[in-house]
Amino acid sequence: MSRESLLVATLVELADSLVDNFDVIDVLTLLSDRCVEAVDVDAAGVMLLSPGGELQYVASSSDSMRVLELFQIQTDEGPCVDCLRDGNAIVNRELIAPDERWPRFTPRALELGFQSVHCLPMRLRGQTIGALNLFRTELGFLDDQDVLVAQALADVATIAILQHQSSIAAVTLNEQLNRALTSRIIIEQAKGMISESMRCNMDDAFAMLRAHSRNHNLGLTSVANAVVSGALNPHGLDVPKAKTRS
């Protein structure tokens, strides 16, 4: 699939998400996955600002424990913190240790094989909701086109989140963010349950949640909710056909 086709497909899916089964985690996981496919990066993730003002991990293209740890560190230091504090995108920042600025983040990122990092703000009309974080394993830089594409995808996702209205009442930004964070917790709780029940790792557990959610046209959070509340037995989850995630 050409990049153009991929982007068109992504934009269509993001627009669709506004109408059916809106799930912030679904939208942001889609955004992360498509960034990895469309732009020359190897991992992508999104951190959102909690109602309290803290950056928290919400979605990524990879659910491996070590990548999640990298996002965990970014609550306190790292590209996302700097990007939001200074208000500027961080592009093509090469990772070199030791790093005074990011003493915990940089060594961990290097350990994972990442050589450069990028961070794009997610904001609309002065309202910032979080940041899109991109990682590359190869040396070299993202070109301007790649950055534009990533920012455009981030902007569309931002609009989707900010403009979403539930069918019952207008959802405020605080509520939207709070729900996203709660959803993430539910998904992590579900992953744990699936991992233990099915004796698989967390990556595979997440893949099962996703496969089931797609096959049955259900929101990711709603499937996770069903698993954690006991309504859906992990053994009853669809098994993904092929492992496409990094």
């Binding site: 109602p51 003002g53 950056l55 609550t75 913190v81 993430r184 709780q189 233990e196 006991g230």
Partner: protein, 242 residues
Amino acid sequence: MANDRLVDIFALMARYEREGANEGSLCMVAAEITELSGAAIALLPPDADMTSMGASNKVATQLMDLEITLGEGPCNDACRREDAVEETDLVKNNGDRWVFYTPQAIAFGARAVFAFPVRIGVVRLGALSLYRDSRGSLTYEQASSGYLMASVIGRAILAMQAGASGGALAAELEREATFDFAIHQAAGMLAVQGSTNVGEALVLLRTHAFATDTPISTLATRVIARETSFDREKGMWLDETG
């Protein structure tokens, strides 16, 4: 990133703890941080009725007792919902929202009421109830503070259920990240190992962390790495590292 509001909350909690913490302390912190007239915390144990965990002043106590008696009101609603509940003018909007609660709440001195669900993922612990003696909605900042306070209260409730003393909560909670994916994954695993729900699993995790003087995030990582697990039949934790 030092989050000012979170820092303020812990500073306030620590101050009250130094002055002799009691059930009302967390509520006083909540009222101060949201700049409202008073606060109370409702607990919702599984399969049981709502109870009070304390209040910051007499009016807040009266409002909470009223809700518990009537089974109606903002806190009752918040215990069942995802989002915060808001009534900006009890006098003007005296419709059929809370038919019995409203006139009594006004008589006690409340004009506007708000309630934030206290939950951790699917685990519903209760709600944070706030009131103001004048009408008006919450500012964006106040709503943010409400959500943040609710998340701190959630963690505080779990910590207390696991045996933490009310007098050292601030330090305990400050040590941990607000969101640690490992803790939630571990809770999911423990829920299956212990044949229980995730709420109980979180308490189980925290209790063992206290008992072994281990930071909860470290224990969670060990659970995920399958270095330790909970054996339901034996009713104890097993160490796989030998």
